[in-house]
């Protein structure tokens, strides 16, 4: 009993403190890596230099405004130039700038050195979610916003991590130099976690490099920082840092899960099983544009309810989901989703919201379709 109550008090205190701290935060946080701390120091150095210059310049100005007034009977002076002071106030700021530039250059060179990384992760931006691929490890997954729509639409109380929570965070090992290879599948996004001082644009056709080494286990939260369309504000980044052992265990588990997923695609599925899986997969992959109701947001995002594609021939429907529709926001999901998920989503779309076709698509048929294309 006491154990529980003290735990509750602790939790409550922690929440209150976190709230009190968070609500009126006025400054950058030093963060969780060596780089983020040196960026923070740089930020504070420039800030204080600016404050000192500001105090001097504004001090002179306010002094003058108080004293040199017509209302106090001041007679205006007539001086209007001095080459000496002009040279002086050109040289002095230049010297201050050089003083600022030296530590900035050092930090920048450090940030750009992504060599000797122990783990490579490909980060891919999608409208509006992140995809993480552990290179050489056969582990890859999407990371979607986990905040319920009800909270966004003010029908439920907002949680502490409102809009900064995901279904599956990027998991990293503690104290390990991790290289991030950042790219995009559609428009430009930007992957940012303030505590790591890593912000890198995800650009289609480019692979940008960045790196981080995080000292302490924990959860680090960030967001997409490049306007990427409708749900730009709804694609958070969450990094979970585990101890090296914890990470190894997690990675092994993920590999097992991936194997199990592969087996699923050879299993014989029933319509009901596909519909159940399809609804979940639809909500996390398709609903942002086509909406949970299947009614879309025309004309950018057409409805699927009663649409000629979702109620037409199966091959056409499959083709558009696998290959996308060039020139529009419809992405090619062939490489994004597993055969099972594609089969389940298409089956769901053909049997939901009154699209009662009653037909189903098997993962095997999806695989056959993809192989026929190659």
């Amino acid at each position: 009993m006491t154990r529980y109550s003290s735990a509750w008090t602790g939790l409550l205190l922690w929440v209150v403190c976190a709230q009190a701290q968070a609500a009126w935060t006025v400054n950058m946080a030093p963060g969780a890596t060596e780089v983020s701390r040196s960026v923070f120091d740089l930020h504070m150095t420039i800030f204080w230099i600016c404050v000192v210059i500001g105090v001097v310049v504004f001090g002179v100005m306010f002094w003058s405004m108080l004293i040199h007034r017509r209302s106090t009977g001041q007679q205006p002076a007539h001086f209007h130039e001095s080459t000496t002071v002009e040279i002086l106030w050109t040289i002095v700021p230049l010297v201050i700038l050089v003083v600022m530039a030296i530590p900035a250059t050092k930090t920048l060179i450090d940030i750009y050195d992504s060599s000797e990384a122990e783990l490579d992760i490909q980060v891919t931006g999608y409208q509006w979610k992140w995809h993480y691929k552990y290179l050489g490890q056969d582990v890859a997954f999407f990371s979607n916003l986990a905040t319920p729509q009800k909270q966004i639409h003010n029908q439920a109380a907002k949680g502490e991590h409102y809009l900064l929570e995901v279904d599956q965070p990027l998991v990293l090992p503690q104290g390990t130099k991790v290289r991030l290879l950042v790219t995009s599948a559609d428009v430009i996004h930007s992957w940012w976690v303030p505590a790591l001082a890593v912000k890198k644009d995800a650009i289609p056709g480019f692979v940008n490099e960045s790196w981080t080494r995080i000292d302490e286990p924990g959860l680090y939260r960030g967001q997409c920082t490049e306007l990427c369309g409708k749900d730009h504000g709804f694609m958070p980044v969450v990094v979970e840092v585990k101890s090296k052992e914890g990470f190894a265990t997690w990675l092994a588990e993920r590999k097992q899960v991936a194997l199990a997923e592969q087996e699923l695609s050879s299993k014989a599925w029933t319509l009901d099983e596909l519909l159940a899986r399809g609804e979940k997969a639809y909500l996390s992959n398709c609903a942002a544009c086509h909406q949970p109701t299947g009614q879309g947001l025309p004309p950018m995002f057409p409805p699927l309810k009663g649409s000629p594609i979702a109620t037409g021939p199966l091959a056409g429907h499959l083709g558009i989901v696998v290959n996308g529709k060039p020139g529009t926001a419809m992405a090619a999901f062939g490489k994004q989703l597993s055969d099972v998920d594609i089969a389940a989503i298409i089956t769901y779309e053909r049997n939901a919201w009154g699209n009662a076709l009653g037909d189903m698509l098997t993962p095997q048929a999806v695989r056959a379709f993809k192989q026929a294309q190659e």
């Binding site: 006025v26 310049v57 002179v60 650009i203 730009h232």
Partner: protein, 533 residues
Amino acid sequence: MGSVIDYSQKRPTYAGHADHGPAKGLMRWVLTTNHKDIGSMYLWFSFAMFLLGGSMAMVIRAELFQPGLQIVQPEFFNQMTTMHGLIMVFGAVMPAFVGLANWMIPLMIGAPDMALPRMNNFSFWLLPAAFGMLVSTLFSEGGGPNFGWTFYAPLSTTYAPESVTFFIFAVHLMGISSIMGAINIIATILNLRAPGMTLMKMPLFVWTWLITAFLLIAVMPVLAGVVTMMLMDIHFGTSFFSAAGGGDPVLFQHVFWFFGHPEVYIMILPAFGAVSSIIPAFARKPLFGYTSMVYATASIAFLSFIVWAHHMFTVGIPLTGELFFMYATMLIAVPTGVKVFNWVSTMWRGSMSFEAPMLFAVAFVILFTIGGFSGLMLAIAPADFQYHDTYFVVAHFHYVLVPGAIFGIFASAYYWLPKWTGHMYDETLAKLHFWMSFVGMNLAFFPMHFVGLAGMPRRIPDYNLQFADFNMLSSIGAFSFGATQLLFLFIVIKCIRGGKPAGDKPWDGAEGLEWTLPSPAPYHTFQTPPEIN
């Protein structure tokens, strides 16, 4: 080298042209080639756009008043941020300065009109067409532009709503208008100065506009180029910005910011010039360091062409590129500092009084300097990785644009209103306008530094609860700043309709040819060039 000019001269008579004053009726405004009429139209148009762009800011701030989605959906929110930016930059600030240039440059250099009056008419009338088209896209199927005022490809090409084509056409029209306006200003300044008005005797407003006009001619075609490339990608199957077709989305940003950075100075240099007339007038002391002010302006203009990639520190440019753009950007602090120091030295040991133009000018110097400080912070590339695309940037550019450009325009308007209308404006109301704007603006934009540093990205319709308190404050500040601008409209109308008659020179410390004319300035002025000793 003559920063103190003796304007003693014989007053010319204006009676000779009293027989053909302005035409009557609506056609006066449609067909006019008179620089004062066109200047007034530019100013009224820009104020209308200021209110329209401002209403969109009110929608943005209303949605951000609380976390959660309350008033608008994300698609419409993005259209509001985009249109707010486009309208304020191209519709409010730039035309306001062109309006001031039209009114004041001929009066300041002793010219009878602008050099190319018919083109002047055309460059104005393109604007209502351009903005009519741009604003109408909000009512089109799929909505208006929703990709930010910086319209990064491929969000603005492959993924854009269909109205993007109208947006492109509107930008082309605005560009043509700006280029023609700039050519006109250069032609006027270089050819129509009164005898004795050497370049180094010109008021700084004329100097800064001359330099601004060259910036416009240099970069508006680049903007036209980038939107044309978009048009080709969207409709003619090219792949300038599409990686899938072998193109380069980053190329878009390089071309856009090659326009975009000088554009920033296009929006501030004329304000520098106006403030350099206003501070000496109310300090009753000549401008300190006239020559260095001219050189500083020219240096800023030159540097503006070699710093564009500081908007792109996170796109992954190589280390050497990053360092070059960081150093070049930091250098801008030097000529900008020179200007601020010169203004402060002008005030030093003056005999100051604080009428509305001076209040706005002093606030300009202080708050623009604060925006300059955050600009210096943003120039530091490693620190920029934390600031980039957060509310810290939003705070920064609103600090240079609102108390910078907009306060510069208000200062100019109050300073020259007596000359334009022949009446003094209501000083009490004008001071109220100043203080309410000052408080509202700081309340709106200062907390944005904090939420930005705490990690709030820009251009999001909804946010985590930790940002809630400051966002609410910002919204309250923005609403009060917005509402205050209706007071400005009232003050201007009141001043036009009547008020204490303004003499030729209502400000005892003011210098310049414009104050040798009667108030209101006659329809035709300086048909005989004044003599300048």
